[in-house]
């Protein structure tokens, strides 16, 4: 168990900073957020992960008070804030493009909220210095916003909210505008800040890597509903729906039909006619259409037929190498024409694999997942 999961366990049930029940928001006929319920324990890093347009921003804006839900309730520290104006809610928001006030200095940006909260002026300087130190920008108070780099702006935006000690901090894809290398750094930095301030974070993103790396709990959202809520490991290893399996992490996806079922193991024939074994969480009628998910890293490549008994073992031809350093992959093709992407282990043996060569890939039935096709997945019940 990772430390994040541990943190959640320790606090769970003690007290919730934020809870929503059956929250819905429609734009005309269209349900942007559709009966979403969840609760977040105090001090947790909670992410909402979903593709573009699934309703993440709408949900967050309802929490902040910028949008009024059609139905449902929002409880912060146990009391409903449905009729509280955004400037009175004990939540703060970090906007996607940060929304730092360009006409004010860093210190003035931070002081804005303090003034509004009625903190006596003489205390401002000390509070500002303290929060700037915590976000590792000591002495930056007098800088103009346009003098800061992307990552520094990011930290000022967070400091501006955290100085107010909100019950919940809402973050709307705050790393979206940063470039790749900086994003990697900020992921770790954000997690550190959350731990340091011990504030509940609600973080929305469409980047699964961000959600997995930082969060204690992740909700996967699709078409206005939560598909699954769980720890990153649960989502990655035990997705409950085909959507979660496909969205979280890379996967080879194949359409197929059930040919046989024995116990937890079913036999599948893919559309290309390849016969594969997979585990299945639920009983599936013979002949029913399914989608099979196999992660690239579970397949083992070998130049000769593996000795150990494997549930699935295919002889394939190498199509090409997708070289990406530690993340290199091989594209291979079965005799039937099905293409698989296989992670390339970081051992020198495989560097010499050339297109056209014949190799073997193998994996256990328990390492792949399958889900019935076209069954509308049910939304998560209240957690």
């Amino acid at each position: 168990m990772s430390d994040q999961a541990f943190a959640v366990d320790a606090d769970a049930g003690v007290q919730e900073d934020l809870a929503c029940t059956l929250l819905s928001k429609h734009f005309g006929e269209f349900a942007a957020v559709d009966e979403v319920s969840f609760s977040i324990p105090r001090g947790a890093f909670f992410s909402i992960l979903g593709p573009s347009g699934c309703g993440k921003t709408t949900l967050l804006r309802m929490l902040a008070g910028f949008q009024q839900p059609d139905s449902g309730d929002i409880l912060i520290k146990g009391s409903s804030v449905l009729h509280t104006a955004p400037n009175k809610r004990p939540v703060n928001m970090v906007f996607q493009h940060l929304a730092l006030f360009p006409t004010m200095s860093v210190a003035e940006n931070i002081a804005y909220g303090l003034k509004r909260k009625g903190v006596p002026k003489r205390e401002h300087a000390a509070l500002i210095d303290e929060v700037l130190a915590k976000v590792q920008l000591p002495g930056y108070g007098d800088k103009r916003i346009d003098q800061l780099s992307g990552g520094q702006k990011q930290r000022v935006a967070i400091a501006r909210c955290l100085v107010l000690n909100p019950a919940v901090l809402l973050l709307d894809e705050p790393l979206g505008a940063l470039d790749l290398k900086l994003r990697e750094q900020m992921k770790i930095e954000l997690k550190r800040l959350q731990r340091e301030f011990n504030t509940t974070f609600v973080y929305i993103t469409h980047d699964q890597s961000e959600a997995l790396v930082m969060s204690d709990q992740v909700a996967v959202m699709n078409k206005g509903r939560f598909e699954q809520v769980g720890t990153p490991q649960e989502l990655y290893y035990q997705p409950k729906t085909a959507f979660v399996a496909g969205f979280v992490g890379d996967s080879n996806q194949y359409a197929g039909t059930v040919q046989a079922q024995s116990d937890q193991i079913i036999t599948i024939v893919t559309e290309h006619g390849v016969r594969l074994l997979s585990q299945s969480r639920q009983p599936m009628p013979l002949g029913s259409p399914i989608t099979l998910f196999i992660r690239p890293e579970v397949m083992q490549i070998s130049t000769s037929r593996p000795e150990a008994e494997q549930d699935n073992c295919l002889q394939v031809t190498i199509l090409r190498m997708l070289f990406d350093g530690a993340r290199s992959q091989l594209q291979v093709e079965t005799a039937e024409g099905a293409v698989l992407t296989v992670a390339l282990p970081q051992t020198a043996d495989f560097h010499a694999l050339e297109p056209g060569r014949s190799v073997y890939v193998s994996w256990q039935a328990g390492q792949s997942l399958c889900f019935p096709v076209s069954t509308e997945t049910q939304p998560e019940s209240v957690q």
């Binding site: 400037n87 006030f101 360009p102 804005y112």
Partner: protein, 293 residues
């Protein structure tokens, strides 16, 4: 167009473009600079005898020594400043509404409503008001019919009529720059203002207005200059009491055929109004290039 391919957005100005633009720029500036040089020359001479003129500042000293002219200018400037401020006060909520609250059709509709004054010639519009406001006009009649007054009232020929006319004529010139700057204000900045605990008033004062400052200033400059230089509206609506500085200029040129004095007034109008704008910018600590860009 003789745009050199690909270099159109580089600071290497190309010959072809300059050849095309030079006459236009020349025309634009000559048509404003030449007449003014000419006016300065005319304004600096004094008639000493028939067809005889001598260099003199008398036309300028006349402005400062004759309280009439000076007072007229001050009155015009004060009225223009009031009109500018009132226009700003009326146009700001309208612009905010257009830029930040409305979307789609209602937004366009309200914006077009502000354009309507342009649809009708200033002259015709002013006559429309004269018909409406005069003693025998609709409003006077309506007031009598309602029994609010017992004899016809004259609503024309006073400062209020001038003010209403000026503000109406100026609305668009204030709304356009305001809507432009307010449109460019990221909504999330306003939301952040609320989110961090600001009331509507705080958000307006510390976020919206500072951002809109260039728009406010450029709107005010344009409206002030247009109002100060307006001729038809104050003259027609003001009647016997109009007393607008441009009317003085008109009178000098046409009725008095005293071009020397008229030219001096024209130059003084330009200098003094520029001075007022400059002072306004100084006081509000704005820079001209920032405001105008």
């Amino acid at each position: 167009m003789s745009v050199e391919p690909g270099n159109f957005n580089r600071t290497q100005y190309r010959l072809g473009f300059w050849l095309l633009l030079a006459p236009i720029l020349l025309w634009l500036s000559l048509l404003i600079i030449l007449p003014h040089i000419d006016m300065v020359l005319v304004s600096l001479r004094e008639r000493i005898a028939a067809r005889q003129y001598a260099f003199s500042f008398s036309n300028y000293t006349a402005f400062f020594t004759e309280p009439l002219y000076w007072n007229t200018f001050v009155r015009t400037a004060v009225m223009s400043i009031i009109a500018t401020v009132l226009t700003l006060i009326i146009a700001f909520p309208v612009s905010f509404y257009i830029a930040k609250v409305l979307t789609g059709r209602p937004k366009i509709a309200l914006f077009i409503l502000c354009l309507i004054p342009f649809w009708v010639s200033e002259l015709v519009r002013t006559y429309g008001w004269m018909i409406l406001l005069r003693e025998t006009g609709l409003i006077s009649g309506a007031l009598q019919w309602l029994g609010l007054v017992d004899q016809p009232v004259e609503m024309l020929y006073n400062d209020v009529a001038i003010m209403v006319g000026l503000i109406y004529t100026s609305m668009l010139f204030m709304v356009v720059p305001l809507v432009t700057t307010l449109d460019s204000l990221d909504n999330s900045l306003i939301e952040a203002g609320y989110d961090l605990g600001g009331s509507s008033w705080h958000v307006m004062r510390s976020i919206v207005i500072p951002h809109a400052m260039p728009g406010i200033m450029s709107g005010c400059i344009v409206v002030f200059m247009l109002t100060l230089g307006n001729y038809l509206t104050p003259t027609l609506l003001g009647g016997k009491n109009s007393l607008w500085f441009t009317e003085q200029i008109y009178t000098q040129f046409i009725t008095r055929f005293n071009w020397e004095q008229g030219a001096a007034f024209g130059i003084l109008l330009l200098i003094l109004s520029s001075l007022i704008v400059w002072l306004g910018l100084k006081i509000t600590k704005q820079s001209f290039t920032r405001v105008m860009s």
